[in-house]
């Protein structure tokens, strides 16, 4: 076999290995380092470098350097004229003697001369500069032949594509990060808006100031205790904050009546769940159940709630959670016609109505959260902040909750169904 044949076989071997290296998902830096080895080894080149082009900084940054010494510049600034020339030449080797007309080459000429560089290869992919290859003298001492230059071009195309792919990936990652930040900002704006709404709702009722915010927080506690994920818990909190949004359309004198309201006024007030649904339904919430929570948060498991008198399994789960949080807040805050009830009474009420008004597992989750705080397992002080320290430290409260949890835990909850002939009888 004559020498050109041998050279061709050797170069093809290097080209095949380069293709394999680039298509494998190796570390990018290592891929470029190996690519430089393959290019050098294919033609017996003693020194060289591969650089990546930053179109923002207009710089060539060295990714791999071989035998060029520590003093070889790792960053080379390009001018607009350099870029124009690179694009005009495309992916073709430029001999150093010709490259000297390039403005950037004149700046670094001393370094290049000292390192006996012989070829400069702009890496241009889809009419965009992605990098450059610098090649020094061949070990044979001969100049580069046109055959050598063809090999350099073929391998340079592979290397250019590898850099372009990496740039594309970096761009995708950058845009993905931008989108994530944008999403976080939108989410933050959404939550601020929700809280502003909750405050607006609460402003209408001078006696229950902070009610929506507290219901949001109680709802969040229950979702956490039920083991819901962060997004679902956040959705539950939003449902709690907005559950009374329908009250915005109820007359202030009804909401703030310092007496038990009459039937007509009660009918007016009881429209607020359906109105709340109408307000929230057209809004695209990231959490789908928010309008349903507003509509059904006054439904009871035994079918005696409103607006639709739904039974247990007909009631959306989020509405059951908000119902408990709403009722708990109503019992634990002063109203114009009655004072807040003692904590132990409230726990008894939750127990008594478990399976009738409240879903037992939701009562269990809520009381578990309260108990964990009382016995020190949860140091978050969530309940103390919402209810006050004195209220939470009522004598016998922890024992009462423990007893209630034991009572609730092993039992199978009663389930109410709406069916002909069964009415609202519990199915055991």
């Amino acid at each position: 076999m004559n020498e050109p044949d041998n050279k061709l076989i050797h170069a093809f071997g290097a080209l095949a290995e380069l293709g394999h290296e680039i298509t494998n998902r190796n570390n990018f830096q290592e891929t470029i380092r190996t690519s430089l080895h393959l290019l050098s080894g294919a033609l017996g080149i003693r020194r060289g470098a591969i650089a990546r082009y930053s179109r923002f900084a207009h710089e060539l940054n060295m990714l791999a350097v071989r035998a060029l010494g520590d003093e070889f510049p790792l960053t080379l600034g390009l001018t607009t004229e350099d870029e124009r020339q690179f694009l005009a030449v495309g992916l073709n080797p430029i001999e150093v003697a010709q490259a000297r007309v390039l403005p950037f080459f004149q700046v670094y000429d001393a370094s290049f001369e000292n390192k006996r560089l012989e070829l400069l290869v702009p890496l241009v992919v889809r009419e965009e500069i992605v990098g450059a290859i610098f090649l020094g003298e061949k070990a044979t001492g001969e100049t580069y032949t046109s055959y050598d230059k063809d090999i350099v071009c073929a391998m340079g195309q592979h290397i250019g594509v590898a850099i372009a792919q990496r740039n594309l990936m970096a761009e995708i990652e950058r845009r993905s990060e931008e989108n994530r930040q944008l999403f976080d900002e939108m989410r933050s704006t959404y939550h601020d808006t929700v809280k502003a709404f909750a405050t607006a709702i609460d402003c209408k009722d001078k006696y229950t100031e902070g009610h929506s915010v507290r219901v949001g927080k109680f709802t969040e506690i229950i979702a956490t205790e039920l083991g819901w994920g962060p997004d679902e818990t956040e959705g539950a909190a939003v449902a709690g904050y907005l559950h009374d949004v329908g009250k915005l359309t109820v007359e202030r004198k009804i909401i703030n009546a310092p007496y038990r309201i009459n039937a007509k006024e009660s009918a007016e007030l009881n429209k607020h769940p359906a109105v709340g649904y109408e307000i929230l339904q057209p809004i695209h919430h990231p959490y789908t159940d928010v309008p349903l929570a507003a509509k059904y948060h006054h439904e009871r498991l035994d079918g005696r709630g409103y607006p639709d008198g739904l039974y247990d399994r007909e009631i959306p789960y989020i509405a059951k959670i908000v119902n408990l949080a709403d009722s708990f807040d109503a019992m634990t805050t002063d109203r114009p016609y009655k004072s807040r009830r003692p904590a132990i009474d409230v726990v008894e009420d939750l127990h008594r109505n478990s399976g009738r008004q409240f879903a037992p597992e939701i009562v269990t989750a809520f009381l578990s959260g309260m108990f964990k705080e009382l016995n020190g397992d949860d140091r978050g002080r969530r309940f103390r902040r919402l209810l006050g320290r004195d209220y939470m430290e009522a004598e016998g409260l922890a024992e009462k909750i423990k007893f209630t949890l034991n009572e609730l835990a092993p039992t199978t909850p009663m389930t109410y169904v709406a069916a002909a002939g069964i009415g609202d009888q519990p199915i055991l």
Partner: protein, 98 residues
């Protein structure tokens, strides 16, 4: 790959296939010997049947480092194909052949 050293002369025995992995092992060992004051580095290719492009590039790097350290590089016991490859790519111009 194995190595032995006596009187500032080190002999490194290359394996049957010099590729990226085995080449880097040779390079690492050569640099270690040169840093330890070795003045003559002999690479024994008696077991070597194949050298790929990465292997060539790494051997060129070894020659470069040895030159900078003022050390002599000797290639020994090469088979016919290896000699042909090294001659074609110019490596033999920078080393002593035994």
């Amino acid at each position: 790959m194995s190595a032995q050293t006596a009187d500032q002369v080190s002999t490194i025995f290359a394996g049957s296939y010099i590729n990226k992995l085995s080449g880097e092992q040779i390079e690492h060992e050569c640099r270690r010997k040169l840093d330890a004051g070795c003045r003559e580095l002999t690479l024994d290719f008696s077991q070597t049947e194949l050298v790929n492009s990465i292997g060539i590039s790494i051997l060129l790097g070894v020659i470069d480092v040895a030159e900078k350290n003022g050390a002599k590089v000797v290639f020994s016991e090469m088979n016919e194909d290896t000699v042909e490859l090294f001659e074609m790519l110019g490596l033999t111009k920078h080393v002593t052949i035994q």
